[in-house]
Homo-oligomer: 300 residues x 2
DNA sequence: TCAAGCGTTTGTCCAAGACAAAATGAGTGA
DNA sequence: TCACTCATTTTGTCTTGGACAAACGCTTGA
């Protein structure tokens, strides 16, 4: 019965692997080996879906699929746990405490621990230091298999709440530059945008947050309508790297030359030496540098 | 040059139409008619992409593709504008004022108008009455072509801010039922979840918000880990309707029987008479009914 | 007015082949 | 030892044309 089996579309949804990729792996590597329904369509057993999710997880970490799908189950023990690489150096305990609260499924305690950390450190330090380390710790825990997907979702949701609350509490930036903040379609990670919005607003820039997944044509229209000086895009590590460069080029070509284009996030770092007119922001602190740089240019 | 042309993947991203669908339309209806690059791959000119977005917009409204792609440009005038159908009956002006602010790209004024409306009406009335009507008005304006995509994004972002702020300000629900709130993968609309979370928290239920796009297996795990009484999913009108029933069935089969499964949103309404053990919540107010019903059952 | 039956429409899936971009590894020079 | 180039493999995505089932909408019958 198909009650517990997955169609190819369901597997694509749950693993993030494209249908074409699933079919070509089957052809090339002999895995996965889905059963077929009466109509000849693939039916993936749950164990194989689980294995595919693990493979995807390791791929996002940098491993290559050919090795992974061919290997049997020694990759589970050999690759999965780069176990705890000094989980957080120079951690006063805040990080591990928060991670433990996510793992303990105590939402109220998690929320107050986050709020408390933010107030103790001040917003800028919190965002420049603690949040990236928390994100990294959550990402590592997830890759290591210590975190379930839903636990990562829960963390993201609470952090999102906190950051949005912080942004709302700030006086709205009314100065320059005016920055359109968004991601391209397919990129749904929002924390990078919110962190950037916090930092920029703190510096008095005017942010126009469009949320995630704005079609390129609409990014251009928004920049025009809001008289933006800068379009800032965030790319997560999970974003297919091969698409970043052409996307950036297409957008750069569509935007008026005076409008700057900033790319940030782990997914943008692979773009170091690229086209003219594109600024790759290497880290969160880099946003502040880029901002100072922009203001310096304008002052001239 | 491909500077301004779109690959099939780019069109899928920007329009939401699957690659297979784009190819089959070309074969069957003779539209779109992309050029080819040196490698024989499709290159869609921007006008056709624009037209495809319009078609997708009308399809989400209920029109069938066969008619739309065959028609020439009389559907632009004939179908697009069901122009202003008494834009908002019994509107004290709040709605149209807010719409105008979105259109005017004045973020600060929009934010304060929303906040003010919420405080004037009280949270529950605001969510039951004003927010759905605003959403509908924005959706209509978008379908009519009065709104750009980025304007809808801007609205969503501000509303999201406001609702999250309201939730944070409420005392965290600690009672029963315990409700896991999320959407399935591919469903990224978040406002329905936030509105539900507001209403449920106001009634003292304990919400476990997982954000959007949680894989089915992880929804089940989350329900278990958080000892949830209810799993509530939100489906927007844009969600492919044919997928809702099998998704619900699969999830119902995977969840322990005592855990209730609630489906809400415009995309769930097509599911009226469905399987046992699934509650279809027809409207926002329906959440309160369902909640009262659940509590009544538990009291017995 | 509603239910049942029956074409039509429509999205998704399949197969096998092809190719280009990215990653890898070998070889070369400073 | 490092940096660079070049050839080779790996890998994802795109192609065509055929097929089918589920959903739609129309018509018929009660």
């Amino acid at each position: 019965m198909s009650e517990t089996n997955f169609s190819i579309a369901a597997v694509e949804r749950d693993t993030g692997l494209a249908k074409d990729t699933l079919r070509v792996w089957e052809r090339r590597y002999g895995f996965p080996t889905p059963a077929r329904d009466t109509n000849g369509e693939r039916l993936y057993p749950p164990e194989q879906v689980e294995r595919l999710r693990l493979i995807k997880r390791l791929m996002d970490q940098g491993f290559r699929p050919g090795k992974l799908v061919s290997a049997s189950s020694e990759e589970l023990s050999a690759l999965t746990p780069p176990p705890a690489n000094a989980p957080a150096r120079a951690d006063d305990g805040t990080l591990s405490a928060i991670i433990a609260l996510v793992k303990g499924h105590d939402i109220a305690a998690l929320r107050s621990a986050l709020t408390q950390a933010m107030h103790r450190q001040g917003l800028q330090t919190f965002i420049l230091d603690t949040v990236p380390r928390l994100n990294a710790a959550v990402g590592e825990a997830w890759m290591r298999g210590d975190f379930e997907v839903f636990e990562e979702h829960l963390y993201t949701e609470q952090m999102q709440s906190l950051l949005r609350q912080a942004i709302t509490a700030l006086p709205a930036g009314r100065g320059r530059p005016r920055v359109v903040l968004t991601t391209v379609p397919e990129e749904q990670h929002v924390l990078g945008l919110l962190m950037s919005e916090c930092l920029l607003t703190l510096e008095g820039a005017a942010c126009i947050p469009l949320g995630t997944q704005t079609p390129l044509a609409d990014i251009v229209r928004a920049a025009d309508a809001h008289a933006a000086d800068i379009v800032a895009l965030s790319f997560s590590a999970a974003f297919p790297g091969r698409q970043v460069a052409p996307l950036a080029a297409q957008l750069r070509a569509s935007l008026p030359p005076p409008v700057a284009l900033w790319l940030g996030g782990a997914g943008a770092e692979r773009l170091r030496g690229t086209a003219h007119g594109i600024t790759v922001v290497q880290s969160l602190a880099g946003i502040l540098d880029a901002l100072a740089d922009w203001r310096g240019r304008q002052a001239r």
